[in-house]
Symmetry: C2
Subunit: 515 residues, 2 copies
């Protein structure tokens, strides 16, 4: 057994189920080692950003990380932006970076780069194998580090010559995984007292407070105390729809976000950091909860929010589950599409237990506003603001949750970032419906210009924000990558296409032409 | 005038002609400033890797850098791999990274990232504006640093609030640009003595020794002394074809490279570093010219190779230009395509003064082997090994050299990395013909497996190296991005398609189906 096989067998023993890769020469020992295990599914991406985005989506739905194989520094660089998103999502991801042979590194060959310099910008842990005998323990350490605390990116640099060296066939058990910090009893008591006071209160939720047992507990507290549930703008995972307690998403624009939070006398933090504005807009706040009373932070984004929710729910005597939202889709007249009507069609047709990846930029918000009226489903949002992750997140979600339909509500601007992901969706026969909101612009930039009084700008502004010339033919692009598709411009056509896409196995793309 | 306009006006005064961008909110002051200048052409890329690759192509053909606008750390991350290629090519590039407002940075908003940590991996200089009054001097410094020595990437981080601040309308002249080091007279004399000795000698060339005046001087020395001309595998720019002295490209595989260099009693370095192998293959050399005699390095990749060539040519009494290769394209029978026949068709039809971007991985080598028999043209190769740059390099080349045809000889594996570049080619009506060598595999990995005795590998290896399922329909993808195309499988069909593509203005894609 060589060191490469030791790395892969350690991952197999840790029940890691998938490896996303775009390998090169230095990673071939790891690829050949994958040939010798059964339980790790190898999935090829046409660009490393697909691999790291897919690993983010996969890890958000599992307690375990996916592996990602990356080709030296440039391969890591290509995957870096979605590792940034994974870092912000606190997703467990193990990035294995093949590196030049130890004896070749000083030669400064073309691909040589400061791998750790790039890796540290996104990794909670970064290691390098310097002896083949470390292969197993280092792989185990990387896996444990990716799951430590609330989770994150662990990067392990693996020189090619060491991967080829023989090592003893000795399993490397995972080291103890560091659990998140327990909640502070004083904060629990303070929060419970505020909630019992009866004034308008909000639980500001993030991380595992937004799905599964965490959301159930948050719903109980809401039911018992009348508190509203509000979540981070860029949540990692949210369960919503019929039967789940409704959660309001913090708006993107600062005056709307500030107004929402100012409407509550008390804000209790559970699993998120204190909310900050997405950008530092001139004259707008940076931190929404500064210089005010009634704010108690029970569990930050790093803390054990499930324990905090359990204790807070006991402290306020919350014993009954929230009855949840009803299934109440809006009626949809047949009409030309706009963002609101498009959202209504999706909310009406979304099947139970679907996973929605709402990574469209401007058009995800109308959907978010009414998603609680759909059948029960989960959503994975953009956490780190690095656009273009949606089609890759969808791949990871589909592989992590076979049998569940995935709907990627994507923009034409951000969708073009990672259009290669469609090929992997076709290759792996994944049940992903991509709805491209084709407004032929980076619309968010137009909105920003309006807000700053600079709209519409001059010729350079138009050249750098419009996607109208030429219009991207998304159906042709999808077909080129092996994904069937349809173009629609009305609610009835969208409903028909979405019905068809959801009924058939495998991926499908809908180009929804929007004004 | 605000600081953003000061930055842009400083670039305008330095005669920078193009700005590649995929801007976000933090860069909008720079975009609006571009509205107020006439001489900087704004070019939108659908992903930052397109922007940085295009800037690399542009800078290789000009003495001046292009600007690239990048959106905070994640935007820089997306462009990092092609900035690595630009670093290896020693291309002048000025990367302007929009950053959060100074008062917002500590809030750790979603897009916050260690920008300098990522930037330093590729930049020869990295700066950050901390006062608006520095805008002009820092922009001038960044431009000068990008052109200093042999050139490189200069990264300037520009916080959004400072960009909006008013500054005096005072031009910022460029600081003195540091020129490359002058050649060592002792090395010139030693090289001249070896060349006069009459034994088989090679000039090992890189950088500006491979085109223009540099290549003319190298050709004179070759003519006078009988020395062969050999170049780096990953050259930045090479002039070849009829009338130019033939230059042999150092092979990619180590045994071939070593054999070529071992055939020369003397090797004189001019404008390149000493050649090293691309990877550290087991049992193969890392450095090809170690432990041997007859090696004199006159000018490294950082030195003033044009001065070195001029002095060496005087020292050996070289007074006549090399007569150059004849136009001697191979005859091409009508037959199914393979790499050799494909190369022959291109060599026959390539128009005078074309720019070829031979970034196909396995199929660029048959072309390189016979390119000197084509009409006079230039080539831009992959310098840093970060694949997928070709379609973006082609954009930069077409904008830098209007009126010259650009031919991107691309692979399906590497081409899929940056397929979004086709849209910019269509939008800017660029005369680029993309020939995709569609062998439905990352063929280089198959060759590596054969070399290491591991071919063909098992199911994971096939899953991670084959592109056959589904086959990418390149013509459909191109059409989707607004580029017409054709699929060909024979030499006659390729010739017809290439003739048509070269005759018409604007971009065209040819999917060449290869075994």
């Amino acid at each position: 057994m060589n060191a490469a096989e030791r790395v892969i067998r350690t991952a197999e023993a840790a029940e890691i189920g998938v490896c996303f890769a775009n390998p090169g020469t230095t990673e071939m020992p790891l690829v050949l080692a994958l040939d010798r295990v059964q339980a790790i599914r190898p999935v090829l991406g046409l660009h490393e950003t697909i691999c790291t985005g897919a690993a983010d989506g996969y890890g958000r739905l599992r307690a375990k990380p996916a592996l990602v194989l990356l080709h030296l520094g440039p391969g890591l660089a290509n995957g870096l932006a979605n590792l940034h998103n994974a870092r912000r999502a606190r997703t467990p991801v193990v990035a294995l970076v093949g590196e030049h042979a130890t004896w070749h590194r000083d030669a400064d060959a073309p691909l040589t780069m400061d791998i750790e310099g790039a890796a540290r910008t996104v990794s909670r842990w970064c290691g390098r194998m310097v002896r083949a005998s470390e292969a197993g323990p280092l792989a185990a350490r990387a896996i444990a580090e990716s799951m430590a605390g609330r989770g994150g990116v662990a990067t392990l640099v693996l020189p090619h010559d060491l991967l080829l060296e023989p090592v003893p066939d000795e399993p490397s058990p995972l080291p103890e995984i560091v659990t998140p910090a327990a909640p502070d009893p004083g904060a629990i008591a303070a929060a419970a007292e505020l909630l019992r006071g009866g004034a308008a209160s909000a639980l500001f939720l993030g991380g595992p407070a937004l799905w599964g047992e965490g959301l159930r507990l948050a719903g109980r507290i809401a039911r018992a105390t009348g508190a509203a549930l509000v979540c981070e703008t860029g949540f990692a995972r949210l369960a919503t729809g019929a039967g789940r307690p409704p959660v309001r998403r913090l708006p993107y624009f600062p005056e709307q976000a500030q107004a929402l939070l100012d409407g509550f006398a008390h804000v209790i933090g559970l699993g998120a950091n204190k909310p900050v504005s997405f950008f530092g807009w001139p004259g707008k706040p940076s931190r929404y909860l500064e210089d005010r009373d009634g704010v108690v932070w029970v569990a930050s984004a790093e803390d054990d929010v499930l324990a905090a929710l359990a204790e807070l729910s006991r402290a306020v005597g919350a014993r009954e589950d929230h009855p949840g939202s009803p299934f109440d889709p809006p009626t949809v007249p047949d009409a030309p599409l706009d963002g609101t009507r498009l959202a209504a069609v999706i909310v009406r047709l979304l099947p139970e237990d679907a996973i929605v990846v709402p990574t469209a930029v401007t058009n995800a918000y109308p959907f978010s506003a009414i998603a609680e009226r759909a059948r029960p489903h989960e959503q994975l949002a953009l956490t780190g603001g690095a656009i273009g992750e949606g089609p890759a997140l969808a791949i990871g979600a589909a592989l992590a949750a076979p049998g569940r339909k995935v709907v990627n509500l994507e923009a034409d601007g951000s969708g073009a970032y990672a259009v290669q992901a469609l090929w992997t969706q076709a290759r792996e026969r994944l049940d992903i419906v991509t709805i491209v909101c084709a407004n032929r612009a980076y619309r968010i930039l137009g909105l920003e210009l309006e807000r700053s009084g600079e709209a519409p700008g001059g010729p350079a502004t138009r050249a750098l924000t419009s996607l109208a010339d030429p219009p991207i033919d998304w159906v042709a692009v999808a077909r080129g990558f092996g994904v069937p598709g349809a173009r629609v411009a009305t609610t009835a056509a969208l409903a028909a296409a979405l019905d068809r896409a959801l009924a058939e196995p495998g991926p499908f793309l809908i180009e929804a032409v929007l004004p």
